[in-house]
């Protein structure tokens, strides 16, 4: 596979969220505001790319029996970098994201890509795959948070779009809307992109 194919595969065809149903936790939790989703997405892209590269780099010297533990520790190290960076530079967003930054460690996308791709492929390919999967994930987050923020707060990236006449839908800020929106997104993609038939 060329690098371009790997990228397209990771971003669209095998998208982590709508195809593999991985990493749903954070996809639902941080999507009430677009800015939070974007920052979270960038954090995941960074972690996926760097962890994928590192795991791929040491794949020949990692004993099979302890490889899960090694992978988790590598991922955790990069997540700590992201967490410290956010705490230092964007304290407000870091507070809003709360535990979900730390939870990137147990985000199934990370372990899934490490196990399925990085532990068997070349370093640069793993980097491309990590960036692709991360962008696919961020895309879904932004799509869901766009609807939630627009209807829930009447704004986009914090800028007010709707006029004063707009009554915010408080349901969009609460948990259930995230479940419904993600389900609808998966439904639309299944029907029009994968053309699933009964």
């Amino acid at each position: 596979m060329t690098k371009k194919e790997i990228f397209i595969n990771a971003t669209f065809k095998d998208n982590a969220i709508w195809r593999q149903i991985l990493g749903i936790c954070s996809a639902l939790a941080v999507t009430n505001l677009m800015l939070n989703s974007l920052i979270m997405g960038l954090g995941v892209i960074f972690t996926l790319a760097m962890a994928g590269m590192t795991i791929s780099l040491i794949r020949a010297w990692t004993p099979r029996s302890v490889r899960m533990m090694v992978q988790v520790l590598i991922i955790a190290a990069y997540v700590i970098i992201v967490d410290i960076f956010l705490k230092a530079n964007m304290p407000v967003i870091s507070k809003q994201l709360g535990p979900y930054v730390g939870l990137i460690i147990t985000n199934c996308i990370l372990m899934g890509r490490a196990e399925a791709f990085a532990s068997q492929n070349k370093v640069m390919d793993s980097l491309v795959d990590g960036i692709g999967s991360g962008i696919g994930y961020t895309m879904v987050l932004l799509a869901i948070s766009f609807i939630r923020e627009l209807f829930g707060f009447g704004s986009i990236f914090g800028f007010r779009i709707m006029g004063d006449w707009w009554t915010a839908w408080s349901i969009m800020v609460m948990a259930p809307s995230a479940f419904f929106l993600l389900a609808m997104l998966i439904w639309i993609i299944n029907t029009y992109y994968y053309k699933v038939k009964a």
Binding site: I21, L22, G23, I24, C25, S26, L28, A29, M68, M69, V72, L73, A76, A77, V79, I80, D83, I84, G98, P99, G102, L103, I105, T106, N107, C108, M111, M174, A175, P176, S177, A178, F179, F180, L182, A183, M184, I186, W187, I188, N190, T191, V196, K197, A198
Partner: protein, 195 residues
Amino acid sequence: MEISAFVLFWAAIFTGNILLTYFLGMCSYLSISKEIESAFGLGIAVAFVLIVTSALNWLVYYYILIPFGIVYLQYIVFIIVIAAFVQFLELVIERYTPSLYYSLGIFLPLITVNCAILGVGLFMIIRKYSFIQTLAFSAGSGIGWLLAILMLAAIRRKLKEKMVPAGLRGAAISLIITGIMALGFIGFSGIVQIQ
């Protein structure tokens, strides 16, 4: 801000359900909810590991990480504690109760990467819970998670014979069911309230 442990326990089950409100532990929740028996097995295992590892992590955080000034290592330390405990549990169960091992053992490796376990650990640090509060919160969260996965498994069993649009089958319909359950749980929010 001192919430009594009793209130925290009920709040963690109903008003602030770890899965329906904080979305933690979704991956295994969606994939292991086809059969009630396996959902129950996984739920029990998660609840047990959750209670023990949260207590361990609390002790590690306040008696090792803070005195030595290495709080920034908390993610790595927490995940090591969880992984080590799960590994230890697997050995013990396999050695002493083989029958339990066959029904529960397959879920154990899944638990290390279940976000609910690490999530509760991080919540208790962020909200500055005392040890007793942590015990109540983790017990409530474990039971709440068990409740949620059991409900989903029961509904999915009924749903098997029903017509579901092709594109919705699998994860999507489970998400819609979960959304309706979450709506229902909002009805509890008048009883007790945490954050």
